[in-house]
């Protein structure tokens, strides 16, 4: 696969309310994510980060405002066609249990033109799975292997943009770490734009170029990992950053003692 320049994503006054305006899951977000960036959207449960992410591929329609990809309003595009060109990976993976790994990976090309995925082998390589996994069924795979297939499936549509909703949240720490690193490498190699939702600040700090902290539907902090660590961020952001910082300090002390 050739490196390509991932698209820019822009939110203009995006709001989403599920109860006719009484409460806002997303509250007037204005934001530009430049092409090729790896952005982590961090926040506690209910902060609106997943909702904001899903307005991009229209799994959620905003109540107000607009989302555009490379300047084109997503509302103007056919939602089905739009989704085939955006990679979507989420915590529950959602592999189709009645299809083999190859069929799962080849689903987008098949939907698009009835083609079978001729690039299944290449995609398995890309996500670090052996070729003989192609004929297996999802229930024969471990959680980490399943999510690798999930990533391969998302990449099969040759997307420039990847949306990841707690992609590694359900995996054990070692697998999670491995998979995070492997994906970051893929992101760089393929020149993707990646927006990853996570509640784990440490993961965000280690993987992303830019961190957005969400609270009550708003972006409350925005900066590089370095800035996040250096600055005394305010409110919600500081509480989130404090956790890995404190853990790091404790670990260092432990190391020194031993």
């Amino acid at each position: 696969m050739q490196a390509q320049a991932g698209p820019e994503v822009r939110f203009q006054s995006v709001s989403k309310s599920f109860d006719d305006g009484e409460n806002h899951a997303v509250d007037t977000v204005d934001l530009t994510i430049e092409g090729g960036a790896f952005v982590a959207l961090v926040g506690e449960s209910g902060s609106g980060k997943s909702t904001l992410l899903k307005t991009i591929n229209r799994l959620v329609e905003p109540s107000a405002g607009s989302v555009s990809i490379d300047g084109e309003d997503v509302a103007a595009r056919d939602s089905v066609e739009l989704r085939r060109h955006i990679g979507y990976v989420f915590q529950n993976i959602g592999l189709f249990p009645h299809m083999t790994v190859a069929e799962n990976i080849g689903i987008i090309p098949r939907l698009d033109a009835g083609k079978t995925g001729d690039q299944v082998g290449e995609l398995l390589d890309l996500v670090g799975l052996p070729q003989d996994f192609a004929g297996r069924f999802p229930n024969e795979l471990s959680g980490g292997q399943q999510q690798r297939v999930g990533v391969a499936r998302a990449l099969a549509g040759k997307p420039g943009l990847m949306l990841m909703d707690e992609p590694f949240g359900a995996l054990d720490p070692v697998t999670r770490d491995q998979l995070g690193d492997a994906y970051r490498e893929l992101h760089d190699r393929l020149g993707l734009t990646t927006i990853m939702v996570t509640h784990d600040m440490a993961e965000a700090l280690l993987l992303a170029d830019r961190i957005l902290v969400m609270s009550d539907g708003r972006i409350v902090a925005d900066g590089t990992p370095e800035e996040m660590l250096a600055e005394e961020a305010n409110g919600e952001a500081s509480a989130l950053i404090a956790v890995p910082k404190r853990q790091m300090a404790k670990l260092r002390k432990l190391e020194e003692r031993s």
Partner: protein, 518 residues
């Protein structure tokens, strides 16, 4: 082989073919209704509640009643379409198909909705996320994942349908139920068991084929799926094959109808044997309800059957007066030919009237000789009747004429009605005057001094298309005024008695010999 077993087995193939075709058509109808409805119900919660509620409601209607309900419904539709010249058959295949089809809807619908709505939300999110259209999602994800649950519903529906199809006999659609109903009426248990066993084996076979398809879907084995489907197609093709179907249902085959009691079965066979002797191909539609039979005749679904003047007078003609015998038959004859073109060919020579009968002992103890005497003691008595009598206009007429008021009334199948009076569960029964069991059980028949019970001369009725058919009429003329009541009683008793029972066909042969026909 035991001749009764052989007789029962010989009836199986043709009825099985009918049973297979009816069940298959009903299932197909059920699928065509239930599957699209389930898809709609999956997407719309409102439709889901409505459809499931309605299907459950249909399921609460007893099968027999649901079948029976389609008869007046289709009759009414027929009236509606009359100006267009279209006729919708209100008996036979169509009402049976509709009722069974409706019955098949619920299990398929309920399982399909359960299967479709029970799919893991993550899988649906993934399907949306990769950009499937609604149709693609249904075809590629929802349908295959719900398939095992849907198949379980189809299997339930299949077994139910094949079972309930036995009830279609009552609306004039031949099925394995013919054997069960006829066997129950004449207490021919071999016939009942053969009919039940054939129906059960059919259900098991269909279920096994569906099981094969189900495991085929699960294992993604095309061979199993196709061999299961091929099994069904082969079964249907066999049922349609000339050997079983067309040959016995040729256009020139005569259909002899019979209501559901021994005398009717015997007379139908007697009529059938005369027609066969005259070169006609004959088949039988037996176990018809009393009112169903006359409608079946004037609609041309049966060609000939035996009815009773009083029954036609009060039920079909809706008359409440009670004219003398010859006047009644003359009026009836005119009325059937003018109204429907159906022909009352003539009397067979005996009457089968309602006879209020009691044991000799009861008659003596209460000093009963006529229905008038009964009026005094009726409030302390229990009356046993056949299943129709209490709702027939004759009963209203008799009750009014004598001021009868029984302490208790209970309906029985005829066989059990005679047992009830013997055992004392009923003090008086409405026996049939041509029934051999009156004499055999030494029952005492009360007289009808007020003439409230109409005449029940046994008459031959011909369908409109046979009314002017000379060859047909000639074949049956030898039966007119030919059967004395004593001979009929004896023939009835041959079939009804507990030991050394004869089949209706055997009794008919004996009867033919007795009255000098061969």
């Amino acid at each position: 082989m035991n001749p009764r077993v052989a007789d029962a087995l010989s009836q199986v193939p043709a009825l099985l073919a009918d049973h297979v075709l009816l069940s298959a058509a009903a299932l197909l109808l059920g699928l065509v209704i239930a599957l699209p409805l389930a898809v709609g119900a999956m997407r719309h919660a409102g439709l889901r509640r409505f459809a499931l509620g309605l299907a459950s409601l249909v399921q609460t209607i007893p099968g027999l009643a649901l079948l029976a309900l389609f008869y007046p419904l289709l009759l009414a539709l027929n009236g509606l379409f009359e100006p267009t010249g279209m006729t919708i058959p209100s008996l036979g295949f169509l009402p049976a198909l509709l009722a069974l089809g409706l019955y098949a809807v619920l299990p398929i619908l309920r399982n399909a909705v359960t299967g479709l709505t029970g799919i893991d939300a993550a899988i649906i999110e993934a399907a949306d996320g990769v950009g499937m259209t609604s149709r693609q999602k249904l075809r590629l994800v929802e349908a295959p994942l719900a398939a095992p649950v849907i198949m379980a519903g189809i299997r339930t529906a299949t077994v139910w349908t094949i079972g309930i199809a036995t009830l279609s006999t009552t609306v004039g659609q031949p099925s394995l139920g013919d054997m069960i109903f006829a066997g129950l009426q004449t207490q021919n248990w071999i016939l009942v068991i053969t009919g039940c066993a054939a129906s059960a084996l059919l259900a098991l076979a269909a279920d096994a084929l569906l099981g094969l398809i189900e495991t085929g879907i699960a294992a993604r084995s095309r061979v199993r799926i196709w061999s299961g489907l091929a099994g069904f197609l082969a079964g249907i093709a066999l049922a349609l094959s000339p050997a079983l179907f067309a040959a016995s249902r040729g256009d020139d085959a005569v259909v002899v109808g019979a209501k559901g009691f021994s005398e009717q079965y015997i007379l139908a066979r007697l009529i059938g044997s005369r027609l066969e002797a005259a070169g006609y191909e004959v088949r039988y539609r037996e176990g018809l309800g009393s009112t169903v039979a006359f409608t079946a005749l004037h609609q041309g679904e049966i060609d000939v059957y035996v009815d009773y003047t009083g029954t036609l007078w009060t039920n079909a003609m809706q008359r409440t007066d009670n004219p003398p015998r010859d006047e009644m038959i003359a009026q009836l004859s005119d009325w059937t030919i003018e109204t429907y073109g159906a022909r009352l060919l003539g009397r067979l020579g005996f009457e089968n009237t309602y006879a209020f009968a009691t044991t000799q002992e009861t008659a003596q103890r209460y000093g009963l000789a006529s229905i008038d005497d009964l009026t005094r003691v009726a409030p302390q008595m229990a009356m046993g009747t056949d299943v129709e009598f209490l709702n027939r206009p004759e009963w209203t007429a008799i009750r009014t004429a004598y001021g009868l008021q029984f302490g208790d009334t209970q309906s029985y199948q005829p066989t059990f009605m005679y047992r009830a009076v013997e055992s004392g569960r009923a003090d008086v029964i409405t026996a049939f005057s041509s029934d051999g069991r009156i004499a055999a059980n030494n029952l005492y028949v009360l007289t009808d001094p007020r003439g409230a019970i109409p005449n029940y001369d046994t008459v031959l009725m011909l369908a409109p298309r046979r009314a002017g058919d000379r060859r047909f009429v000639a074949a049956l003329e030898s039966l007119l005024e030919a059967i004395p009541v004593e001979t009929m009683r004896e023939a009835n008793f041959m079939v009804d008695r507990d030991n050394d029972k004869a089949t209706p066909a055997e009794a008919a042969t004996w009867l033919a010999g007795e009255i000098g026909l061969d």
